[in-house]
């Protein structure tokens, strides 16, 4: 679905047309969620906060994510300009991923979320 759609026109059962305004603010929230939300993206970014990390190390850190998933998320994050993939050597193969400035700019949100989540861990479960 097109999330950038600002409004849509619908016709009800009596043939009347209604313009439904999708709101700007929540769209920003949805948009943001698409960048740092999702199953592993926030965690991946968080793991890169201190230093570049290699692919397999990252996969291990996430403990529970398959290579495929990590690979997919990494590609998304790279396409979104949140991380950079760097090939360190060809033989043996060595690759690291690190945050861009943009990626780094999301760390504050993630830290707040982490803090909030920990503070309310009892309420959460």
């Amino acid at each position: 679905m097109d999330i950038n759609k600002k409004s849509s026109v619908k016709t009800d059962s009596k043939g009347r047309k209604k313009v439904i305004n999708a709101c700007i603010e929540p769209c920003a929230i949805e948009k943001g969620m698409r960048l740092i939300g999702g199953k592993w993206k926030g965690s991946i970014l968080w793991h890169l906060k201190d230093a570049p990390v290699r692919f397999n190390d990252l996969t291990r850190m996430l403990g529970g994510a398959s290579k495929k998933m990590v690979d997919q998320r990494l590609k998304e994050l790279e396409a979104e300009n949140m991380i950079i993939r760097k090939v360190l050597s060809e033989r043996p193969v060595a690759v690291t991923y690190e945050l861009t400035e943009f990626g780094r700019s999301a760390l504050g949100i993630l830290d707040t979320l982490r803090q909030w989540s920990e503070d309310h861990s009892i309420a959460i479960r």
Copy 2:
């Protein structure tokens, strides 16, 4: 700041750093994401920030979400103690949803996310 307190970092023979147990913090992030992440949850909470909202109004506000989805998310949020469902009248049926204190405590994160998302809307696309 000492955030990864539960993690241990080791250095191998080639001077590379390895994080051995780093899944504590990301788990908090994943946990938090499950509460306010997902497709509509953040937006729903955000829409309730000022006042209680009725079911159909909320659905319309989200413009694009089906009743079924809204219903499901609302039930999740209620189970998670983020919102409260209140029956105003039986005939005609009138129900509102409003934030709990816990739900309200998430607004800061959502606002930061919204701000961040808007600020970087160009980078995002």
